[in-house]
Symmetry: C2
Subunit: 402 residues, 2 copies
Amino acid sequence: MRVFIAGIDGYLGWPLAQYLTARGHEVAGIDKLLRRRWVEEVGSHSAIPVYAVYERLHAFRERFGTPLTFHEGDLLDYALLCDVLAAFQPDAVVHLAEMPSAPYSMIDQAHAAFTQHNNVIGSLNMLWAMKAVCPQAHLVKLGTMGEYGTPNVDIPEGFFEVEFRGRKDVLPFPRQANSFYHLTKVHDTHNTMFACKTWELRATDIMQGVVFGTQIDEMGDDPRLRSRLDFDQCFGTAINRFCCQAVIEHPLTLYGSGGQKRGFLPMRDSMQCLTLAIESPPEPGEYRVFNQFEECYTVEELALKAQVAAAAVGITVEIQHIDNPRTEQEAHYYNPDRSHLIALGYEPTHDVAAEMRIMINDLKAHRDRILARRDALIPDIRWDGTRRRSQVIGAVLTSVKS
Amino acid sequence: MRVFIAGIDGYLGWPLAQYLTARGHEVAGIDKLLRRRWVEEVGSHSAIPVYAVYERLHAFRERFGTPLTFHEGDLLDYALLCDVLAAFQPDAVVHLAEMPSAPYSMIDQAHAAFTQHNNVIGSLNMLWAMKAVCPQAHLVKLGTMGEYGTPNVDIPEGFFEVEFRGRKDVLPFPRQANSFYHLTKVHDTHNTMFACKTWELRATDIMQGVVFGTQIDEMGDDPRLRSRLDFDQCFGTAINRFCCQAVIEHPLTLYGSGGQKRGFLPMRDSMQCLTLAIESPPEPGEYRVFNQFEECYTVEELALKAQVAAAAVGITVEIQHIDNPRTEQEAHYYNPDRSHLIALGYEPTHDVAAEMRIMINDLKAHRDRILARRDALIPDIRWDGTRRRSQVIGAVLTSVKS
């Protein structure tokens, strides 16, 4: 199949280009390279070095024997987007080209407005462009499990049957996102649902859990083919940050009690799931939602797993509770479905500890890079709009003996 | 109270400034005057002449004995917005400053992107500005009944208790909007709900039905104080358009079967309801939703009422069905609640026919202006992204004998 990846330079886009190419798909993509700038803006860098685009493309051709068509540009440039889609005529478009950080979107008015404009209008342009030049193509759009928030009932996949005052309907499950970033994904969801209904576009909207990991097998050993791995307060997600903290023997830091429960999945599962979606497209006019995660854990459970994984490779780290910079529930019911991908053949990686050991081993080589930006590990962007560095608030758990 | 009106030059903003001032409130406002340009852009003009801002302000001072503080500007200009709110220190902010037309938002990619950017980022800026300079003020935000779409169950006011797989929660009622414009209001709803929860802002989100009417008593006879009345396919709403059609003896045109059921309310009820909301603010952190309409009617029922009202003032008009330029359900269940405003004392105007007679009499003086832009009465903006003028498709109903 011909697969177009928007956001092909990113944490998931770059490995996905390799994964799909290794499976025999033809890949092209677009990226404005903004993630590189955002991480720099918040005072950090990727733990794993990120090579210049021309070096990445050169290595790609060497490894896969085929060039990767790359466009430097933006979904906000509607004319460019139409041109590149018209030229490539994709069977599927994977849309990963959004600003993906909740804290970044909460910094101030300018960052909130940038995030909502960039994500919502970029995605809206993608809908119009697909309608205009490739209306049969399948849009695989990255949403987030964070769209649903933490309701006190089970979370279905996108829709649920409602009985209200004796009548029934199947309705979109209510969304209660908790940052201006997560809200952009809610807005995209509503726009995409409408475009499918009205224009007969076909879309899979992926409510993805938090991804972690440094590797997929297809990357091989070439450092130019590796993906980025961020650990700063904005772009570093929980497990990735824990593994970077472990490597520099920094305490693993939990926001508040660490009782926040979320769905997580390793990068290799994300690749597997996105590919299942791509290779089994919905019908024209169909808008379907996949909840995409391996399993749900509290952040504290994951820190304990990371502590054990670190011990297994000879690193002893404590776990600390720091005051939570976010306004969020720290203890709540959480039981989302994820049967749609299983039905398509998704085989979850259950050994999270093994994945963490791989990560810590990978990251040991980049210990100095993490140390050089260790300040970025502790949050100071607060949901109330102020900046104040989080302090240690809770008892340190007994560390595992190595 | 000190009430700041964003969109004070508009169809509702201008009469609201007068209504509130007459009740003893102190009013200031902002407007970029874009509605004047949009109506011109789609080839039309207001049936009732709209005076220049300086003339409006002069007449305002003459009638009410107090100047109206007016700022020409845009909610997209965040620094200006903060300045004017900080200077006025409002008790309430009524936010009417959005692009309000579904067809305008469906013209093409550029109009859809403009609409979503203007409305979503403008409203987002309002939230940040209020947080920054008047966090105790009450935001009265204009949403639309169109956010809910036409579900097959009753429509509550914003929230409903859900029982799902044996557990319960109170959740936002699902939104299924049917144009890129209506979707902006859904996006605003989610952003506003989050800001109230996270920042302790207080807001009333008004899910308003379709407003009609040319008068409120407070306007008196000064033509400079009259509000605009649009009849074009973008900015003319159903009853306003029917009354303009009646005045030029043009058939009243229904989109498709005319079985679309909606909530409607006269302008004087809209003023009454907005004022009830303003004068009974919610608690800090409270986000409440009011469904605001007098009664639900099918569009066909309203055309029949307009036909009778026209007959009563000596005008005979036919009713025609034209092909529906929108993708929408033309026969559906529709039963929304509207108890919150009734509980605050809202007394609905039940005599819709009397209101229509007032409108037709008012509009007779502007017959030539409507005739001059009669082409704008028939839609050609279609939900599939094309432009094609709607044709008569259905039997013409027997007209009422005058």
